[in-house]
């Protein structure tokens, strides 16, 4: 009696492969480019600020997805824009995640009228 051996195609991945791992430096470059394009010579305007934040957040998220990293990554992007009027601002973050697979990157942009901070997180789903 011959036994049929079936090959299973399931791979229970709990780690991204090395080449599919999220690289903060790559993401940082892309985000810097977006900020330069969008905010070059931008002047503070209280009506346009909400629109800019939304556009930057959407574009950043699309770029991160387009980086082509492992499909099991979740992306989170936060954009903060404010009027550069000499007040003090401080931003800090803390995360509870898996050091091997997850990472974050941040990009700041300033001109004499506005300041902008983009924080992007990539979290792996097991």
């Amino acid at each position: 009696m011959s036994k049929k051996v079936t090959q299973s195609n399931k791979t229970y991945q709990i780690r991204p492969s090395f080449k599919d791992k999220f690289r903060p430096a790559e993401a940082k470059e892309k985000i810097e480019k977006i900020l330069r394009e969008k905010l070059k010579n931008a002047q503070y305007s209280s009506s346009e600020l909400p629109q800019w934040t939304r556009e930057i957040a959407d574009q950043t998220k699309s770029e991160l997805k387009a980086l082509g990293k492992d499909k099991r990554y979740k992306y989170l992007v936060q954009v903060i824009i404010g009027h550069n009027s000499g007040q003090g601002v401080r931003v800090g973050s803390r995360c509870f995640w898996d050091e091997d697979t997850d990472d974050c990157t941040y990009v700041t942009y300033m001109n004499d009228s506005i300041f902008c901070l983009v924080v992007a997180f990539a979290v792996y789903l097991y």
Partner: protein, 115 residues
């Protein structure tokens, strides 16, 4: 049971309350001082994550704290924050806690991704 929940929507209220209490405790009536505020933010982040984990271990938490000095003029006190996320909308979630005293605004954004 809230302790075992794997959906962020169920525990959102508790998390917001925890973070608000942490801000109250750590920032209190303090003034905005460049050097001091960096430590305060660090402490807030640490304490928040610790308490969130105590509450519910089924998530990866990302906490971003922003402190902005109050300058008193309408134009100066304008800050816009937007978050965009690519995740599982049924289990993951975010929440933003706004806290202020007479000298500064504190915003704590929490992202929680289900494990």
């Amino acid at each position: 049971m809230p302790q075992d929940s794997v959906v962020f929507g169920h525990i959102r209220q508790e998390c917001e309350q925890l973070i608000f209490n942490v801000c109250n405790k750590i920032f209190g009536p303090k003034e905005y001082n460049q050097t001091q505020v960096a430590t305060l933010i660090s402490q807030t982040n640490e304490e928040s994550v610790k308490q969130l984990l105590n509450n519910n271990k089924n998530f990866k938490y990302m906490v971003v704290t922003t402190a902005m000095q109050k300058k008193g003029t309408a134009a100066a006190d304008h800050l816009e924050m937007t978050a965009d996320c690519y995740w599982n909308a049924s289990t993951d979630g975010q929440s933003c806690v706004r806290w202020e005293n007479d000298h500064m605004f504190v915003f704590v954004t929490l992202f929680a991704c289900a494990l």
